[in-house]
């Protein structure tokens, strides 16, 4: 039997190790020392059995257990329960369903309202926001510009973000370097007839 096997067996089985192991230990001084050390370690660890946290340490254990259990099993009141308490009404299930339906209707109306508002966003505001990054030149000069004109088109370009500009584009390429979009006017009516995006050179 080799020493490694014997020492492992001593650790795992202690005194109940096989006679083969015992015989090896009797003949091998290394394994005898290992056995002694293993025994002393176990004696040392056994000292911990005598550690105690004090006579009255567990007196309040059960009380604390109940406090914690109550805390964990008592769920906080729901929104509905809190509302009923506030309104001094019984939290009847039928009322709750009515309340949920009413909330749903309000939510739907809010969504519709938001949709309406979103389609009527002021173009000026968008243009002002993009002023730092876009420079749309309008050939019409002082002509009155309808909402479906360059400003609207400018706002339809990739959404401009607040400064700094380099977050939008790489430092070497700025929207200012683009050839500005060209606006073609109807000569007779002097109203915008078409819009061409100028070629972009990088």
């Amino acid at each position: 039997m080799d020493c490694k096997k014997a020492q492992r067996s001593i650790h795992e089985l202690g005194n109940s190790a096989s006679p083969d192991v015992q015989r090896h230990v009797n003949e091998c001084s290394d394994c005898r020392v290992a056995q002694q050390r293993s025994l002393h370690l176990q004696q040392l660890l056994a000292v911990k059995r005598h550690e105690s946290p004090g006579q009255h340490y567990f007196d309040s254990f059960l009380t604390n257990f109940h406090h914690r259990l109550d805390r964990e099993t008592t769920l906080p009141p729901t929104l509905w329960q809190r509302l009923c308490t506030r309104l001094h009404i019984e939290p009847a299930p039928r009322l709750r369903y009515g309340f949920v339906h009413a909330l749903g209707v309000v939510f739907a109306i809010a969504l519709m309202w938001q949709g309406l508002v979103a389609t009527d966003l002021p173009v000026e505001a968008d243009r002002a926001k993009g002023d730092d990054t876009f420079n749309v030149q309008i050939a019409t000069g002082s002509l009155p510009v309808p909402s479906s004109t360059p400003q609207a088109i400018a706002s339809a370009l990739p959404a401009p973000q607040p400064p700094p500009v380099h977050t939008l584009l790489t430092p070497s390429v700025s929207l200012r370097d683009f050839n500005s979009p060209r606006y073609v006017l109807d000569r007779i009516a002097l109203t915008p007839a078409s819009y061409e995006v100028a070629s972009i050179h990088f």
Binding site: R8, H11, E12, L13, R37, S38, H40, L41, Q42, Q43, L44, L45, A46, V47, K48, R49, H50, E51, S52, P53, G54, Y57, F58, F61, L62, N64, F65, H66, R68, L69, D70, E72, T73, T74
Partner: protein
Amino acid sequence: MTALQKIASKFKPQPTQSLAHARQAEQVVDLSQATDETLVACVQGGDMAAYDQLVQRYKERVYATVYHMTGNHEDANDLVQDAFIKAFKSIGGFKRESSFYTWVYRIAVNRTINHLKRGKNRHHFSLDDIDTHIQNDPDFVELMSHVTPRREVGLTELQQKLNEALQKLSEAHRAVVVMHDVQGMTHADIAKAMKCSEGTVRSRLFYARQQMQGILSDYL
């Protein structure tokens, strides 16, 4: 509604079972004399006092293991309370395939290992007093006769070194050492508590002791 009623309502026992529970509850007047099986049946039937009895019966034994694994009382206290709460919440589904003690002990050990793995342990050690019975412990007498002649060492120093060495082990190795060498549990019981094979227990014990011998070489 009390906590127990809330939990019990989740796990409504079968009619025949509840009848048996009720009968048992009537028959058992002194809970301290009741077996664990009877107490568990009573708890499943909604008797909180029966659960209190189980907590009282096993809190210190479960606590000792968790304390030796964490090394401090605050964590040990929290974890043992957690384990009893978790056991209570799940008692409706307790199949009684093992004893209540093995079950709650396993919950506590698992929670402690997870807690230690997450690194949530408080990094200080509580240092308990050693009870006076130690003077009569033959293991202790032999240990001191061996250690003291080699170097002047006090019991407190030994305790400190031992705690430090234990904390250097991995969670699973520490659990095995605590259960076997501190608490004197058999390999089979440890395997049950840790849901692993006895071979794994023996192997962990071997590596853990090797590591500890290296750390505590001055005292062995």
